[in-house]
Symmetry: D3
Subunit: 340 residues, 6 copies
């Protein structure tokens, strides 16, 4: 059991039931989630001490966001109260040719308006083995770039491993802003995680000849991307999720891990999707578990791919699987036969 500190925003997620569009909704299912919170839940599920660092408002919504994490075993003692509002996002589940859509209403959220002096990183990171953030956190506000940088520097000094999921969000900042900020942060990152498009969006690093909408997961193209990232920023590992969308219901899914020397491709899973939101985060959480377990690269990427495959068969952002369940799938039991 290691201690991992995750830093980011947690939001109220609202989605209509089933395949209803937002404009048809008379009610919304309510849950609480966020890129880094999702990673924390994965790690708590795998038996780690996962601590989530954030700021939420001092009202029933802020309190509920913390309760939701505590429910799954995340340490919420570093979730500060402050600010005016909890960010909200609305998810509309796509079907067949109709894409899923997300409406973000996260501006001026509690964490986005938080100040550098609120965070005492040496204290927060005390006893930690790992620090994780995503590209969303610095995108929330210029101040958050500095705060995240403070965290990275402290982690580095304290000998703590640092991972980052690039997670480019074009509604939060421009590619230029992302490039500027992330270029300051990624040099502190040991393990960089990205999807097929992030590296291009943020750093203009491109996979030659890849096409994300063809239904074929072509991992080979991405070794090149990973290598370029390592060359530019000196990360130890780069992991890339590979999603080929056949339709909103059916995706092929896998991952690639580049360990500085060579890349390792996972099994590709044809997924009949229940909820794809949080898929990438569950990949990150599983990869961190694999690395904390010091597994070899092939096993690590297989674990990450299998765990995140399973996530996409589960409603809401959080991955609700145990190590045992992931390993059963890795061992080849993908038939979905009933377990009595």
């Amino acid at each position: 059991m290691a201690k991992i500190v995750c830093f980011g925003e947690i939001m109220l997620r609202l989605n209509p039931e089933g395949y209803l569009r937002i404009r048809q909704a008379n009610s919304f299912c309510a849950s609480y989630a966020g890129g880094e919170a999702n990673v924390a839940v994965s790690l708590a599920n795998y038996g780690h001490h996962a601590s989530f660092v954030s700021v939420v408002p001092d009202n029933a919504l802020g309190e509920s966001s913390a309760n939701a994490l505590r429910h799954w075993g995340v340490d919420c003692s570093q979730m500060y109260r402050g600010g005016d509002r909890l960010g909200i996002y609305f998810v509309e589940k796509g079907a067949s040719q109709r894409p899923s859509t997300v409406i973000y209403d996260r501006k001026d959220s509690a964490i986005a308006t938080s100040k550098r002096e609120m965070y005492n990183w040496p204290e927060i990171l005390d006893g930690a083995d790992w620090f994780h953030f995503t590209g969303i956190t610095p995108a929330l506000a210029p101040e958050l770039v500095e705060i995240t940088l403070d965290a990275c520097k402290a982690a580095k000094e304290m000998g703590i491993m640092v991972s980052c999921d690039l997670n480019y969000r074009k509604k939060l900042w421009s590619r230029e802003e992302a490039n500027a900020a992330m270029s300051r942060l990624v040099p502190y990152v040991d393990v960089l995680i990205a999807n097929e498009e992030d590296a291009f969006d943020v750093f203009s690093i491109e996979a030659t000849g890849a096409d994300v909408a063809t239904g074929v997961v072509e991992g080979a193209h991405y070794e090149e991307v990973a290598k370029k990232i390592v060359d530019r920023f000196g990360c130890k590992y780069v992991a890339i999720t590979l999603r080929a969308s056949i339709s909103a219901n059916d995706n092929n899914w896998g991952g690639l891990l580049y360990d500085g020397e060579r890349s390792w491709l996972s099994t590709t899973y044809p997924i009949h999707i229940v909820d794809r939101v949080g898929g990438g985060d569950s990949f990150g959480g599983a990869l961190i578990h694999a690395m904390l377990s010091q597994w070899e690269s092939q096993r690590a990427i297989e674990f990450a791919a299998a765990a995140s495959c399973l996530k996409q068969t589960i409603e809401y952002d959080f991955n609700q699987v145990s190590v045992e369940e992931v390993e059963r799938l890795m061992a080849g039991d993908a038939s979905g036969r009933v377990r009595r």
Copy 2:
């Protein structure tokens, strides 16, 4: 923005949740819909002034049927109050090899018992660019054949385009009755819409060698059907929807447009179905939009096919898509990737 007048019945639709059978249902989802009302909603969605002409009872159900259309921007000022009851239909969603079923309870509904003198067509059609009805309306009662004929004649005199979706319903009338009535009405129709079976059921016009249950959409067979219709009735356009049912969950879907000279086939979409009811109506609504936009035949049939593909990924009868969403699919984005 054109003005389209749609004439027909609106009913209360009741369906069990999800895949429950009617005999298992302890509750029903309630919505309001009908072949021509569905077309009106599609056209309001595309920005037109769509007016719905009907009769509904003067009670909370009649009022709700009008509110439901007004919700989506349809002009309900020509929905008269009268009669005793609102028609009802129960939809049971099929799955895999189990077919969807519909129980109609529409006899003696407000519109079915309405009288010819209630409709002042020159006034109703004043300012209209287009008049739309389906083969269901005259099937409701002998008086409705005459009322629909009145409407068609008035439209013709006023230089208004007329479209009709054949929509044969064997529970409402026999093939002989349908043939007799539709043979009087279709000569007034500029744009005739039908599915693969309607032309045979109503006019005994057959596609040589077509088989609707094979999973293959064979549009070529239907050019012949379209041509025969044009020859017999003088319509300007005939559009035919092409559905190949692989199972209740998976259909291949496309359309054909015959413009008097040649036929144009749309892309075929493999659809993982959410709700197929209203698919044909959304095709009709989209085709009318395309024609009002004076698009060329290929673009018109592609728009109609893409719009009605999307409808089948949406719950309930009404198509809830914008022109922009349809055009994104026409442009090839069928991968269902999340839009953040």
Copy 3:
């Protein structure tokens, strides 16, 4: 209309809505079911006088379990009141690579603690044409082995046909215990039903080269299994369900019937699954109907396969189909087109 007596446990089934995991559930859908009760409902659906013999507690849950069967036309006059509790099972529906899981909480249920002297078999079986039980009933408690044996003997003496679904449940007893008990019971059985694994689990009778998780239904391997059973126990018929799990959502499904001379394979159905629990029971119920109807072997196995295919498109354990619906599928209408 024949009279069939089914003997076994009925339980409260609780499952989260849709694809939620049990750990995510804030509510459970409640129904009442059990292997033999499911068969009784199938037979009542087909128009027979199906009587269910069991013991349930004298409280609102026991009463509800009887009401649930009576709802579908099962004769509940032989459901005795006694014992302390109704057994419960929790079903979590799997999706894609994530398997369905079942948690049983049935220990010390009313029937499991019932005594031999409670059952007057000659009276219970009076007027019956058929007696059905499954391997679950004797697995509930040692006393139940004797009770079931009493029933089998009485049936035999009264010239009543006996069927048994092997239904091995590893949580209830060991393979050794199952073998010992079933070896005493199966000699009384005329029609033995099993899935691909039961014969091996209970009697160590194996199909050479079969692999249940490949997605291919290889019936040929199972003729050998059926023949060995007939040789060992003297059953008149052996029927085996053949399920190939592509994923938790997609299964191929069919059946084989061995009539002592040769085996008959059914059509294989690719099923997009709604609820697979009760699939085997609906196969058994349909097979009994086919045999009571004295249909030839090919028609019998086709009826059983088609009926149980349809069951898996229906929520909850009970099969909700009529003879007419099964026959429509047997006749080749598998396209799921809407029936208006």
Copy 4:
């Protein structure tokens, strides 16, 4: 255990959830009920053989209406299949000053269009101890007056007790029509049941000085009404329910029984209402049970009042109480303390 035959219509009841108005409803709770069916369920609950005579359409709705009664133990073997549709009614639950409202959509229902020759009353009533109908049945159609008369005459000849709940429905017939028909039927009735207004509406028999909206249940005024009925038609017993509406949520409730010699008033219950629909029917069902049990008048009216008080604390039309529960309330336990 006596055999009671109830004759009348069963309908699909649709009501919005909770206190939503029909115009706000996106779904309806579905149940099946009717005045005489409700009585049958009460009697089955009390352990009797209650048989329901009706006609329902041969579709999933007609079948479900029978299943719903069978669920609660009612004998449905005399529910014939025929006609086109099942009657429907929509219930909107009132609150405080807002009244409950009901929309009936029962015209041309299966039973309303049934013919005299469908009913073989000597056969239907064979073995019966009691025959029950309400004023709704003859109100459905002129033919139903004759059918009901046939039933009454047959019952009389066979020495079967006859009860009738006047249940005047002004949407079904005028006061004049009701008077004409009921004046032919009531002479056959042994036990007449009515609410405070029925006797006036149907027979212009009035209680001097009664006011139904004052919140005070003034039974004394109704002895006079009962006496007049007995004098005019020769009934043995007249029972009148006494409801004082304080608001849609709070009613005072009791009953009066006139046994030809004197009247007996029940306890008055202040009810915080859950669902008042079916309250009168549960009174009738309980009174019939009391009379079949040959209880003295005071006990009979107390049982009927207590049972129908409890009904109004239960959702939907059917009374879901046992004799033991009614007797516990009669014994004075009205405090609603939890029973563990």
Copy 5:
């Protein structure tokens, strides 16, 4: 039918089901409402042309807010698209001693960030008979004070009646800010509406000896308040709602109308509350209808009190009653008896 223009914010309202607290909620019921929008819906219900002026974001939520108003017949042609977000409020329904609570998340909403030049008041008010706003609108932002003032001045010049509901919201502005702004606006107001506390909060005008939490509606104290408002600002009418909270479930409710000469008290209604949010707005809407109908003062205040009593028996903010229903209650039918 008059034309009324209402100006204000419309928000997404989210509330847990039933009496659940926000911290317990796994889903929220979604509706769209706001003080002035609620008034517009009331007036549309009473048959008027009610136009709602606002700004909502150009996304599915903004669109849905307009659809929700259009559903009930409000003219939404002056709902502009712009800004970043739709305001949201969370309502937790209280029970007994537990108060209802509201969490507002409306900062930087589309209308709050709208600019003066967006509103062409002479055009917006063209053809209007009445202009309505509340104290919430100017509280949204300093710019909104000026915009509202523009509207008031334009209305005055055009001879349009102006009404304002004081509606003090302490989370939006201080008493000093409110006083400063409202003192500029109220001089343009013909009909001022307030609850028992608003006049004090905004203008420090107090009722001698009133106590809002005693369960007694003491209207007499408020004539003095109304008179002072008229004296200070010159309004023609002042109407005050009088609520005495016995508990979160039970309130006594009435109103007072001061017409410059004397005050008129309405009937006091003891309400068993379903949803009290929007009660004051329904009072305002009904009062405007009464004044447009030029009813005498007593009838006007009775109509307003009865309408708003009924509102509180209805879920969500909008009043769903017809003139006929209000008049039935005014006529004394408060017993909530079922209407068949």
Copy 6:
């Protein structure tokens, strides 16, 4: 912030929605609760370190029971995994004269079958300020009497305060068994809590002339009971909840605290009940908080009464209120006015 250790069973609670009876339920709301767990949640809500000691099975239900407590901040590190099943109870909410009922299905639950050697009390109680149990825990099994005694002795030795809620459950043991066991345990108890009936049921200590079903809370009678308990067992404090049931919906509620010298009565609250289950536990939790805060007796009993009044306005067993909310009610704000 003190540390409180609570020892007892946690169960799955299943209840139909709203006022549905169990026999009407098609789904159950699922929560996890138990007498001592409820106290732990109350104390965590008030800011304490509440630790719950129990045994739950190693499956999704056991895990969920722990997650449910962790959600609300309870320390679950002493919830051991073991045994076969989680206890279950079904709650049916009463209304008006219909009582709530509970069906327990808790036999052979994980904790009931747990062994003495599993509990290392000195370690479990390390650092604790307070130990709490109820009369339910020793009632689960004879071994639990010994285990509870071990805990009490360890607490006493370690100088930890001990509280016990008598909570007599007649379905778990006889009055004789309860008397025998509790007479061994209560001598270790500093603060004894009971309802009006427990002292009589367990110790035959009676209040002269009290009648629990009269609707009047007569605390005076209970001082005598409290005094007798102190005299017999030497407890420092005895607190008694006083419930007068007017109906299942309306109760009067208060409490009495006897501090060895005199008794203190709380305010009596007339409660319109949302969910009364857990009322007594919330009283206990609040009382412990008051005592840990070393408040004087009057304030202590007022806090306990107000907190438990609020609990009964909240769904499910857990009290969801803050100290601030309780104190607001104590300060007299019982009017339930909306808080914006």
